[in-house]
């Protein structure tokens, strides 16, 4: 399988009034063609910043990509000029935002917003653009497109708006779609519809998807692989099966334990105590140390190396070290 995207050692910082926030601190991951990668984690862990960094949409100032590379089809987006980046956005990589209520401009018609990406990048006639727009509205399941194109965002419900946002993202037929919490702001029933739409689109177009979410239910439904992020670092990656059935990092286990399950008899929710560390001055060791039930001295002092368990399953945790396994047995 071809790797469509390879992110290496990505660092993003924000200088704010209170100091410098190290929001993303050396993230590595890749995305294969046609697959869906979910990046999961608590709010503030840097997952949205990572996705914005790929699109180069980090507002600068205060944000800045300080290190690392973002290889998209072999080209490093981190080194692209703003102008060159514009020809990538919407054409090769598209993005969907969390809240469909605010993602559409209230003063422009749906048609205008749908077609403008197309007209910006591809030299198409007005009629052709309209045809394409109607086609996209059909694809995302909005009835009576010719009429609806003339309407304004406030005349659509939340779920409908998110469908329109998806249509806007797909109109130039991009190869990569980044969806930043695409279902968080929606009702549960609508969420399922939108997720089904993603699956349908992927089957139809073969598009690769990065899904940013904190909702493990969403992940279970449509992700192929999962990357778990904590305090600006990816601490575990694996296929959906590996993460759900053989989680290795105590944080991943904690995340899974804090989701209600009906299939287990003695279902008990175990919350993770404490809060994530302050990213103004992140700890030099493993950032989860303070909340980890298995924390060792070494965790506090040194960040753990990446351990490859299988070809697809990797984890950064000192518990993988032979010497730690002794300790676990003892206690």
């Amino acid at each position: 399988m071809e790797k469509i995207l390879q992110v290496e050692n990505l660092h993003v910082t924000f200088s704010t009034y209170g100091g410098t926030v190290k929001a993303v601190r050396g993230v590595d991951f890749h995305l294969n063609e046609g697959e869906t990668l979910a990046i999961v984690g608590e709010s503030g862990c840097g997952k949205s910043v990572t996705s914005n960094a790929i699109m180069r949409l980090i507002p600068n100032p205060p944000g800045k990509i300080t290190n690392g590379s973002i290889l998209f089809k072999g080209q490093d987006l981190a080194k692209f000029s703003e102008k060159k980046m514009r020809s990538i956005r919407g054409v090769d990589i598209s993005m969907i935002f969390q809240d469909p209520m605010t993602a559409l401009n209230p003063t422009l018609t749906i048609g205008t917003q749908l077609m403008e990406g197309l007209r910006e990048h591809q030299n198409v006639s007005g009629d052709r653009a309209k045809e394409k727009a109607i086609e996209m509205m059909d694809l995302v399941g909005i009835s009576n497109p010719p009429e609806r194109l003339k309407q304004y965002p406030h005349q659509f419900s939340g779920g409908m708006r998110q469908r329109i946002v998806i249509a806007i993202a797909l109109i130039c037929e991009p190869d990569l779609l980044i969806a930043d919490e695409p279902t968080t702001a929606l009702d549960v029933t609508i969420q399922a519809q939108i997720l089904e739409l993603f699956e349908k689109i992927q089957v139809k177009t073969g598009i690769s998807i990065i899904l940013i979410t904190h909702d493990l239910g969403v992940v279970a439904k449509i992700a192929d692989r999962i990357a778990v992020m904590y305090a600006g670092k990816i601490i575990e990656t694996g296929t959906k099966r590996e993460i759900f059935y053989k989680p290795q990092h105590p944080y991943t286990k904690g995340l899974l334990n804090s989701v209600p399950r009906l299939d287990l008899k003695e279902a008990r929710l175990t919350p993770i105590d404490g809060t994530p560390p302050d990213l103004f001055s992140p700890p030099k060791g493993c950032p989860f140390t303070a909340r980890c039930p298995f924390a060792m001295e070494v965790c506090d002092k040194v960040y753990p190396e990446n351990t490859e368990l299988t070809g697809s399953h990797q984890v950064n945790c000192w518990l993988q070290d032979e010497r730690a396994k002794q300790l676990i047995k003892v206690t």
Partner: protein, 310 residues
């Protein structure tokens, strides 16, 4: 949309009625007003007054006839200048004041919006600080002080532009500058702050994610939304400019309505004060109404409010 216009129109009528009634109530209570028959040596004036205000009728009839005269655009006679009616003064003075006001508003809106956009795009940069520093000065220096400063420095000391009157385009530069600076500063500050807010909205991020050029993002997506609040303060700004013409016309000796109005205040020429107040209030309230309609047209959320959709 129609319902919205209708509602606005209703409010406009009530406001107008209040101001007309207010003038009437105040005038029958004020000492030395035409409604107290104890003054005025000039017989022509007295006769004019009695004819116009029906002073021999009881108050409620006077009031109704007063309402009628205003609805028919007859503002009555002056009590200080015989054979002059308020309509004569308005006919002579208002076109000039209107010209001054319109030029001011055009200058203020265009320069204010441009300044605001530039400042917002260079947020926290040198140009931003400079523009906003000037804007704070602009709203802090009263127009009459700015006017005297301009006369002293540019007209008297440097002798670049004429000091007074309203006879050529060169004569217009100083008064328009003095009057437009304040509104311009207000518009610039408001445009900047709403632009900054709009630029952080998701739909701007979305437009960026579409790969649109910065030019398109600013002018197609941001500016229209950022200008909505500017439209809403236009009514207040117009009122400020209109009252500003009173002092500016006085200082620059421009023979507009404002100058007559200030003279009438100093001479306690009550019918002129009343007539001008009612006329100007009606004018402003009408402008406010038009601004509201413009807002309804600009913002599709209002237009379709009662027309279905979801």
């Amino acid at each position: 949309m129609l319902k919205y216009i209708f509602k606005r129109f209703g409010i406009m009528l009530v406001t107008l009625w209040i101001i007309i009634t207010l003038t009437f109530i105040l005038m029958i209570n004020v000492p030395g007003s035409p409604f107290n028959s104890d003054q005025s040596s000039n017989e022509t004036i007295q006769a004019n007054l009695e004819a116009h205000y029906n002073l021999d009728e009881p108050y409620h009839i006077q009031y109704l006839l007063y309402l009628k005269s205003i609805v028919t655009f007859d503002f009555g006679p002056s009590i200080k200048q015989p054979n002059q009616s308020v309509n004569d003064l308005l006919g002579r003075g208002f076109p000039i004041s209107f010209e001054l006001g319109m030029m001011t508003i055009i200058v203020a809106v265009i320069s204010g919006i441009i300044l605001g956009i530039i400042a917002s795009l260079k947020h926290n940069g040198f140009i931003d600080y400079l523009a906003m520093g000037l804007a704070v000065l602009g709203i802090s220096i009263p127009n009459f002080i700015l006017a005297t400063l301009l006369i002293q420095q540019i007209a008297v000391n440097l002798e670049i532009l004429p000091t007074a009157t309203w006879s050529s385009p060169a004569h217009m530069i100083l008064p328009v500058t003095a009057l437009a600076t304040g509104p311009m500063a207000i518009i610039a500050r408001l445009t900047r702050s709403t632009m900054l807010e709009v630029l952080t909205q998701d739909y701007i991020k979305m437009a960026k994610a579409k790969g649109l050029s910065p030019w398109k993002i600013v002018f197609k997506h941001a500016l229209r939304n950022a200008l909505m609040p500017v439209v809403t303060i236009m009514g207040t700004l117009l009122a400020g400019i209109l009252t500003g013409t009173f002092v500016i016309e006085q200082i620059f000796a421009i023979p507009g309505m404002g100058k007559y109005f200030v003279e009438s205040i100093n001479q306690r020429d009550y019918p002129v004060i009343m007539g001008t107040t009612v006329f100007y209030s009606a004018f402003l309230i009408l402008m406010l109404f038009l601004v509201d309609i413009a807002y309804g047209i600009l913002d599709p959320r209002i237009k379709f409010h009662k027309k279905g959709g979801e």
